[in-house]
């Protein structure tokens, strides 16, 4: 088992309002450890020296929950494509490498501590319209709705989004267009999603704008950084939907029920 000597520079920030800075650490680590296990090992060493460990988010460590999200040498989730930070392994690096680790940077993702950021803005975008309304118990027979396999597959490609925020961190404008368009694309491609399609795209795009994310100017950095390889074609689809829905938009009338 070969061991690597690495020179780490990690962003340390005690709290949301405090100033942060890079702190330098030297570490020996096995190449089979994952990147986050490397941080675990460092944290154990810090604790034994009486220093506070580095705060970072992670949960499933299987690349599916989307909780881990850090910049590694300026790239969200690090150098390996289609891979979250938790699935990145130290064998990707060489002994002697300098590694810079910092939180995702975006106005809409305020830093809470060290590498931990608040991505509540993503939740609010989904809350504004990222759903198909169906009361429990009111659903029709599942095979009553046929979905052509190519549509279902394309919807799936968009649904694979794990909400990690790498797209925002990668974008020079800190735009959330890839994230937002993935949900709009997923639901808009399915027959079940049609009744709320216009409302959904209008509400979600407006919420995205109000959260302080930047605009998309087609840098395509988001697509390259996305651990689930979601295509920017969904952004184009969202923009088309938004324009069409805007043209069709009219004030909703309040209609009262019978009696």
């Amino acid at each position: 088992m070969s061991e690597l000597n690495i020179h780490l520079h990690v962003w340390r920030q005690p709290g949301p309002q405090a100033d942060g800075k890079f702190v330098h650490y030297e570490l020996k680590v096995t190449e089979h450890a994952s990147f986050l296990e490397m941080l675990d090992i460092l944290n154990e060493q810090l604790i034994s020296k009486g220093e506070e460990p580095i705060a970072f988010d992670s949960d499933c460590r299987e690349g599916i929950c989307g909780m881990c999200g850090i910049m590694i040498n300026g790239v969200p989730h690090g150098p390996q494509s289609a891979t979250t930070a938790c699935q990145l392994h130290m064998r990707t690096f060489k002994s002697g490498d300098e590694i810079w680790v910092e939180p995702f940077r975006a106005r809409a993702f305020p830093v809470l501590r060290d590498l931990v950021v608040d991505r509540g803005s993503f939740d609010r975008i989904i809350q504004s319209g990222g759903y198909i309304s169906v009361r429990a118990g009111s659903a029709p027979e599942a095979n009553g709705i046929r979905v052509a396999k190519p549509d279902a597959d394309l919807a799936f490609d968009a649904a694979a989004c794990i909400g990690c925020g790498a797209c925002v961190a990668a974008c020079p404008n800190a735009s959330a267009s890839l994230f937002t368009s993935a949900k709009i694309g997923h639901l808009g491609l399915l027959p079940q999603g049609q009744p709320q399609r216009d409302r959904r795209v209008l509400a979600m795009v407006r919420q995205m704008d109000s959260e302080g994310f930047g605009n998309c100017t087609n840098h395509r950095e988001c697509e390259a950084a996305c651990p689930k390889e979601i295509s920017i074609a969904f952004i184009a689809r969202m923009n088309r939907d938004f324009v069409a829905a805007s043209a069709r938009e009219r004030p909703e009338k309040a209609i009262s029920g019978p009696g």
Binding site: E44, I132, A155, Q192
Partner: protein, 647 residues
Amino acid sequence: MTIELKSNAPGGDIATRWDRHRFDMKLVNPANRRKYNVIVVGSGLAGGAAAATMGQLGYNVKCFCYQDTPRRAHSIAAQGGINAAKNYQNDGDSIYRLFYDTVKGGDFRARESNVYRLAQLSVNIIDQCTAQGVPFAREYSGLLDNRSFGGAQVSRTFYARGQTGQQLLLGAYSALAEQIHAGTVKMYPRTEMLDLIMIDGMARGIVTRDMVSGKVESHVADVVVLCTGGYGNVFFLSTNAMGCNVTATWRAARKGALFANPCYTQIHPTCIPVAGDYQSKLTLMSESLRNDGRVWVPKRKEDCGKKPHEIAEADRDYYLERKYPSFGNLVPRDIASRNAKDVCDEGRGVGPGGRGVYLDFGDSIARLGKAKISERYGNLFDMYQRITGDDPYSTPMRIYPAIHYTMGGLWVDYNLMSNLPGLFVGGEANFSDHGANRLGASALMQGLADGYFILPSTVANYIAKQAADGKLKKVDESHPEVRKAEADVKTRVNALLSINGKRSPDSFHRELGLMVWEYCGMARSEQGLNTLLKRIPELRAEFWQNLSVLGSGDTLNQNLEKAGRVADFLEMGELLARDALHRKESCGGHFRVESQTEDGEAKRDDENFQYAAAWEFRGDEKGPTDFVLHKEPLEFDYVKPSQRSYK
């Protein structure tokens, strides 16, 4: 004091029990619902679906999760699929068959009424999720596709590539998000439940800690619903997420809720083997892989060091196909796991440390082509390659069992209410439907059945009855019991911070996990369990003397969070060992070496152990002093207990 455990399940024809029960339950007038407060802890399939559905119905819901958003709950990591008795394949499936398979698969240690209801609701779940836009796999006809999964002889599993849990969770999350937007649900992310508030013998609220600001707060309600997952992380290395913990259910157990069948833990046969002591968790490879992969080890020990392709076909032992010809590689999880352990114990394991067996796709790739295999398992193969550096298209995977799921949990009746009035428990956190062993693709089914369909009805029934009896008195945060619970939590947080010892929470957790895996893992013996029961209290004593938690309680402090969870695992682990010691039979995921058949299969003892073991905590703030056993006898009117045979 003995507690009488009444299942409250209706009698009569099993097929109509749930319908009759629903009719007998009381309702809450729609205009009155917003006056009632419901707390849901956990936002996975059970909790997310329950909170969303009760929000839709008009209750005033508060939902809590420890992650930064409800979309990350660990339900997300389930890969393989969800069972439903739709019989879309016309291959002989039915509600009764799913019920039968689940009771048998659980080794006759589940409650028949609950399991039948689960099988009935399975069909509604698929309808509900499809309508929400969950992108289940489809055929070219546009209809839903199915596959056979983990020990089933019919194709009843619905799936979404290798991400079924993720897609179902995102469905529940979107329903929850809609209710948050509508104002019926208030969401508290990054918030941990640290105690249950009991007032006049009823569960009336929880004490939480905001994991960002450190603020300890109380929330009162009319009902508390715990959907906080299992306790697999007592083993430290498991396939659970890093944050999964037993704290919510354990704190409830300390307040009098009975903890049932903790010794029923599931070992998943297809995980990536342990590679080193730096490892933080184990990664599951979906057992759907067993549909097309063949499990083998070398026939001779001497061949174990060779590369797999250097071992001739005749020198390979496809031991599952050999021993279980009718089920082959698809035997239930407990059997697949134990057999892997056996061949490794014989010295025929492969890979570093000799703790691994091959899962070989060579034949399937030859038969179906690489493209088909990639379509079915592409993301799993990629994940395997990222973690191990090996390419499973050209060299067989290496797999080994790991802790994956826990069937035990808080005892609940047919209404999913614990023995504490007003405390409901759903999903993996309760003990109810899987008996001693859970079949593949049944966890998602249970979580969603509890969340979308069962809890919303049974919680309403409880509220209506209590309100009619005048028992739901108004309480607020100034109530003495609330103040006391909150003060206790603060004392405990401060205690963890002020030990000022030398060892990190992780180091205690790792040591605990290693000993629980050693003595209470795939094979358990009286001697080993007694050793464990001696060593856990010793480790717990050291924990309270030598723990180091740096920093303060009023900031984001991940080590403080861990410390609290490890403290609870150090108590719960003892109960796990206690339960395993008392259950002298083998059944499902619980294998006592003293109780096996001549050919080494698990041997049940129905005469003495056909009951759910529900344990009452006795002790004080320092820890347990005793656990008192209460039994719920199990009756089987439909599926007569028999020795499971998958030969």
